[in-house]
């Protein structure tokens, strides 16, 4: 399984801070995002191609091309606003 985490505005709008997704169905971040968008509604709105989505895999900055494997932790979040 791949654990997907959502933070801040994404977490609130999705009403969820994490979920487990079947690793066999996603080989890259790009396929994961495609699968999430396919749910429509708020998923499509938040993760649409034109949205700014920051991605981390195993707590390191990642991008659409990053490969995924069983046991990975993926995080999706809006641009950061700390400091």
């Amino acid at each position: 399984m791949i654990e997907v985490k959502y933070f801040a505005r994404f977490r609130e709008e999705l009403g969820s801070d994490r979920e487990q997704i079947e690793a066999a169905k996603v080989d890259t971040v790009a396929t994961l995002l495609t699968q999430l968008r396919a749910r429509g509604g708020v998923w499509l709105r938040l993760f649409g191609e034109e949205q700014r989505v920051m991605i981390a895999v195993n707590q390191e900055v990642a991008d659409h091309a990053t490969l995924l494997k069983d046991g990975d932790e993926v995080a999706l979040f809006p641009p950061v606003t700390g400091g």
Binding site: F7, E12, A56, F77, V80, G82, G83
Partner: protein, 156 residues
């Protein structure tokens, strides 16, 4: 020499500067940045601020940024402490304290750390105004500030 921390307790900037300097008579310059909660943002009065982070990744990101600064400018120390949770106007949100032999590298190191923190470390601000709660949008100026360090990378 490097210390990074995320805490929900109030932040004491002076303590971080003292710990940075402690027992090192070779330090000639300390530059510190304190980011404070303002009571005004985008024209609206802000009553409260809530800061969320990504436990684990946030600390790793801060550590990586601090290490890069120390290496790049041969700093003698770097402390980065960021507050999370709920806070009020005038509360310190973040402290970046940097020590070097001379001022030039201490200024550069300190600015580098806060510029990167602003765009790379997973923190998110939600503010409470009279109109209710709202997530704060990222600033384009922060991206530009970060870009500057990449451009000058080869010419250092």
């Amino acid at each position: 020499m490097i210390h990074v921390r995320v805490q929900d307790q109030p932040l004491d900037p002076h303590r971080e500067v003292d710990l940075l300097r402690a027992d090192n008579p070779g330090i000639g310059a300390v530059v510190s940045f304190i980011g404070l909660m303002r009571d005004l943002n985008d024209g609206d009065r802000v009553q409260k601020l809530y800061l969320e982070h990504y436990p684990g990744m946030t600390e790793r990101a801060l550590q990586k940024i601090a290490e890069e600064a120390v290496q790049r400018w041969e700093l003698m120390g770097c402390r980065v402490v960021h507050r999370v949770g709920e806070m009020c106007p005038t509360d310190p949100i973040v402290v970046v304290a940097v020590a070097g032999q001379h001022r030039k590298e201490a200024f550069l190191g300190c600015e580098f750390v806060i510029d990167y923190l602003k765009t790379q470390a997973p923190f998110w601000k939600k503010e409470t105004t009279e109109q209710g709660e709202r997530w704060v949008d990222a600033r384009v100026s922060d991206d530009e500030a970060e870009q500057r360090w990449r451009k000058t990378r080869d010419s250092d």
